[in-house]
């Protein structure tokens, strides 16, 4: 139990990591303009630039702050997937992804190098199987939500900073590895690959999937986050486009960057970063009450819920 004073001091030290008085890994939505004016007082060139960036998008989005550890990019993407995804993606629907760790393990000896952020009595392969099964279940649960409120409740259950959340994040890392293996193999065969692959494997420290894992991927969440080329890999692995508003690039053509760059996806996952290190989530300010067919977006439950008033 931490006293309120201690929590307030910590919030002051790590403004980008503050997620309020609960244990939630993703905070409630707040107004971008208000946030910007509070966090970036002063008139340095940088402050003015960052505030300008916030102001440019403040009418379109609200902000949800993401727990600021080295998992934050993965966490922000996972949150957007679970809260916005309209249906299970084809790759998840068509395969039993919990079989993938064993398949990879029989092919090459990568999984022995895996690092988990929690204790496990199982083998690494078994634990990754568990992580992928959890991802499948949670994604299914999310898209089957009957209302926005139900979906929000489900997300709040996941993003509590418990093992479950980290298992899902590790599942995303595994998907990145598997995709990297496939893409590398395609490259060797001379097949067409997305542009970012060349950058991914051009780095001296990750010339092949094995070194990509040992020098980069397995440290994500521990000692490092995701580089931009790895953001492309993440988007591509999920068959999603990640759209990032990069505030320090305000006034340049990189202010809004898509990972991967071909942005085929009509509904990108929207994130925000001030510095390409910490990522927060953007939620559209006006969510439509009616879908494309004019039907109301959520059904009134009326299942004996309370309707209390509170005097303040």
């Amino acid at each position: 139990y931490r006293g309120e004073e201690e929590i307030q001091k910590e919030c002051a030290l790590f403004p980008s990591a503050a997620v309020g008085e609960t244990q939630s890994s993703v905070s409630a939505a707040e107004d971008l303009q208000t946030y910007s004016e509070r966090e970036w007082k002063g008139n340095t060139t940088k402050s003015l630039l960052i505030r300008k960036g916030y102001e440019a998008i403040a009418s379109e989005f609200n902000l949800r702050k993401v727990r600021g550890d080295n998992y934050c990019a993965l966490r922000a993407v996972l949150f957007q997937v679970l809260s916005q995804s309209k249906q299970l993606p084809a790759w998840l629907h068509d395969s039993d992804i919990s079989k993938w760790p064993k398949e990879m393990h029989s092919d090459q000896d990568f999984i022995t190098e895996w690092q988990f952020p929690f204790e496990t009595s199982k083998s690494k392969v078994q634990h990754l199987e568990q992580c992928l099964e959890l991802l499948t279940n949670k994604w299914q649960e999310a898209v089957q939500s009957k209302s926005l409120e139900e979906r929000e409740r489900m997300c709040q259950q996941v993003f509590r900073g418990h093992d479950e959340e980290y298992e899902l994040l590790e599942a995303l890392k595994f998907l990145m590895l598997r995709t990297a293996v496939q893409l590398h193999s395609d490259m060797e065969k001379g097949s067409d690959v997305p542009e970012f692959c060349w950058l991914l494997f051009a780095r001296d420290s990750s010339k092949c999937p094995k070194t990509f894992l040992t020098n980069h991927l397995r440290h994500v969440g521990f000692s490092g986050g995701l580089e931009q080329v790895e953001m492309c890999l993440l988007g591509y692995s999920l068959q999603e486009t990640i759209r990032v508003v990069r505030l320090y690039k305000c006034d340049t053509e990189e202010f809004i960057t898509y990972y991967p760059n071909d942005h085929k996806n009509a509904s990108p996952l929207c994130l925000l970063t001030e510095d390409d290190r910490h990522y927060n989530v953007l939620v559209p300010k006006k969510f439509p009450k009616f879908d494309a067919y004019g039907r109301p977006k959520w059904n009134p439950p009326s299942d004996g819920q309370s309707s209390i008033t509170t005097r303040l």
Binding site: E149, R153, P296, Q305, T309
Partner: protein, 113 residues
């Protein structure tokens, strides 16, 4: 949309705002007399104390609270809303509210009596 700045009144250990709230994503929206859309699970002002800090600041019964000090209130539980309004170290809360048109409000208050 209106911006309302409420200066809380100190009453011993308590900070009084002088209004009551209803609504929240965990509440039954069909019971809300103020919303036009009976599936609206937002936070509404159900009562304003006469002469209290909220009334003085311009808050009115039936107002829908959109934001409190920049925090979004359109997708919160009843208790989350209460917490955002009653922080012990905050003497002032700035609300963003939407208010129905005057004629609707008049019609509403006539139906109440």
């Amino acid at each position: 949309q209106q911006r309302i700045e409420i200066h809380k009144l100190r009453d011993g250990d308590n900070l009084i705002l002088g209004f009551s709230i209803g609504g929240g994503i965990d509440q039954d929206p069909s019971q809300n007399p103020f919303s036009e859309d009976k599936t609206d699970k937002g936070i509404y002002v159900t009562r304003v104390s006469k002469g209290g800090p909220a009334e003085v600041a311009g808050l009115r019964m039936g107002d829908k609270i959109m934001q409190v000090n920049g925090w979004d209130m359109t997708m919160v539980t009843h208790d989350q809303a209460r917490k955002k309004l009653t922080k012990k170290n905050e003497d002032v809360v700035r609300l963003l509210v939407t208010r129905k048109s005057l004629e609707n409000a008049v019609r509403q208050s006539m139906m109440q009596h």
